[in-house]
Subunit: 350 residues, 2 copies
């Protein structure tokens, strides 16, 4: 039962495998932060329940974002907040509208909650992927969804929905509007920034996570900035002890390292843009501009050949089946040396 | 927003408050275990997602319980597994049957999932509380619940349902049967033990937690031993990263300290039985025999007076509104000196 079953047949050890499949932050924590975490863990009484309101953590998040702590919900990863939003705001048989392609957890949640998933396709052009505002607005008008769920930057394309559009839509839409900015820090602007020291409009929820830019995928902390009425409904369907003592305490420390996080984000953006250019220089391959920490790639050769070669070299990518012709994968922006090995393989494959 | 709002008006500091309200284990971790936890935390890469299958932790749980890892589900506390069971096995408008009184989270989950809660009362006699098997079986026959949820030992009464009855019922009942043994270690026998090296019957799920006897309320780890078909359904509605890296790693260490846990359980049982005797020696007060780490008490004086005096002394209890006449509270079995202070107050109150 151990090991990496999807690599069966190949001898990849955990510490030599290059993980470019889950959009994790490839940088480890700085030593001073590790030391602070060790100290907190030493002093903590794990026999006691955590604060069910996560008040101290909300206070830190509030200071960072300029959103009142009353409008902040904290979850066991962004995943849990998505689950709570579905529980609070959808009923069996209703419709939930998202982009397509999109985060695979959205259709999964639709299935789980027995709601109808309405995917609105992004337009794939030769060199770019476009969010078609009219098409989207028509789809919303014609199906009256209970929930609209937009990930921006979008996973797996990396494109961003402009703030102007999000702002206008959030004023007009009558259902609950969830903007998932899990990858927001890697983009040129975020929607969350617009609400610093302002109350969020009714029925809006902006989702954030510590799993990506903050490099805390293993910790499981997500949070949402919600209008007070949305926050109240979400809180009413939340388990009281959904966020453990250690995640609450460690997150409070990590969030003090904003400059460290930002410097990592700058490195990732730089490496990402280099990666896109590098791939596009190889004849036949197409990498799309991204505002996130991953890049969508169309391969000129069958994806099975890419996969075989990458797995032999112990490089993990995310292979995708899209509603588009062609062979696709998504590559996360790893460290420079990891991306170098990936690029070498790609060049050999050609 | 800080502090303990329910103690407003009283000056209770966190480190002098006596917490006898949440059925926590009052003992801190032994130093060697703390040291091992520190070492694990130092080496962990929190920028990586946890194992979505919690395979290594399931292996440890499997060795401990004698249940195959394929029949084990791990959750963010037992609370999350309860939530998953409701999602997997109930539909709006169906019925869920429990004891009454019972764990307050059960009616809460019924509300959240829009199912009808059918509470079957325990029989309160002068000196004991009785589980009426016939009454229970009649209620099941007459309402055909989708889910039956029995907590044993029951919260807040501390009574246990005999294994023979549970065994027979699990063979006969056609819906999903959940036996919540969160407090099982404090009882004379557990139902889980019956399934060592055996497959669980269809539609049975036995729920366990590390929050009580194992003293890990802050960690958020619960697990369930389920028949393979129940396990599969629960896994299908679970978020992939529901249990973080730290809880997985720390739980694996803690579970090696079985002897430490058992010695703590013996202390708690001893203190509990002394507590029951002590309370019953005071004229007018009634404490009921318990197989758990808490004791249900009927007060001869108005509960508001008890509450006022306890809060002045910074002792927290759980005050209850039951379907029974009288004034009730539940007191968790704390450390000897904590229970001594509690008993002194009770004697003064009389």
């Amino acid at each position: 039962m151990y090991g990496r079953p999807h690599l069966a047949g190949f001898e990849c050890k955990e510490d030599t495998t290059i993980l470019l499949d889950k959009n994790e932050n490839p940088f480890r924590l700085p030593p001073s932060l590790r030391e602070q975490i060790r100290q907190v863990v030493s002093g903590i009484d794990l026999n006691r329940y955590p604060d069910p309101e996560a008040r101290a953590l909300k206070q830190v998040l509030s200071e960072m974002t300029g959103i009142s702590w009353r409008e902040i919900v904290v979850g066991n990863g962004g995943d849990e907040i998505l689950e709570l939003l579905f529980t609070a705001f959808t009923d069996k048989g209703q419709k939930v509208l998202t982009l397509s392609p999109t985060f695979t957890q959205y259709p999964e949640l639709c299935r789980r909650h027995k709601v109808e998933w309405v995917p609105v396709p992004l337009r794939f052009e030769e060199k770019r992927i476009v969010f078609d505002q009219e098409r989207f607005l028509e789809a919303v008008s014609s199906c009256s969804p209970a929930l609209v769920l937009l990930d921006t930057p979008n996973n797996p394309t990396g494109i961003r929905i402009p703030n102007d559009f999000l702002s206008e839509f959030s004023e007009r839409f009558k259902g609950v509007f969830v903007v998932d900015e899990a990858y927001g820090e890697f983009a040129r602007e975020t929607f969350l920034e617009c609400f610093r020291n302002r109350t969020l409009p009714e029925r809006l929820c902006i989702l954030k996570t510590l799993s990506k830019a903050w490099g805390m995928a293993g910790l499981r902390i997500g949070y949402a900035a919600c209008s007070p009425s949305v926050a109240e409904r979400v809180e009413s369907v939340r388990d009281p002890y959904n966020v453990g003592l250690l995640p609450q305490e460690i997150a409070k420390i990590v969030l003090k390292y904003g400059e460290w996080m930002e410097s990592r984000v700058l490195s990732i953006r730089y490496l990402r843009d280099q990666l896109v250019k590098g791939i596009n220089r190889i004849t036949g391959w197409r990498a799309f501009e991204s505002e996130s920490n991953f890049v969508l790639v169309r391969s000129p050769i069958p994806i099975s050949r890419v996969r075989e070669r990458m797995e032999e070299a112990c490089i993990q990518l995310k292979y995708l089946t899209l509603e588009q012709p062609g062979d696709w994968f998504r590559v996360s922006v790893g460290r420079e040396e990891e991306l170098g090995m990936f690029m070498n393989l790609l060049q050999e494959l050609n």
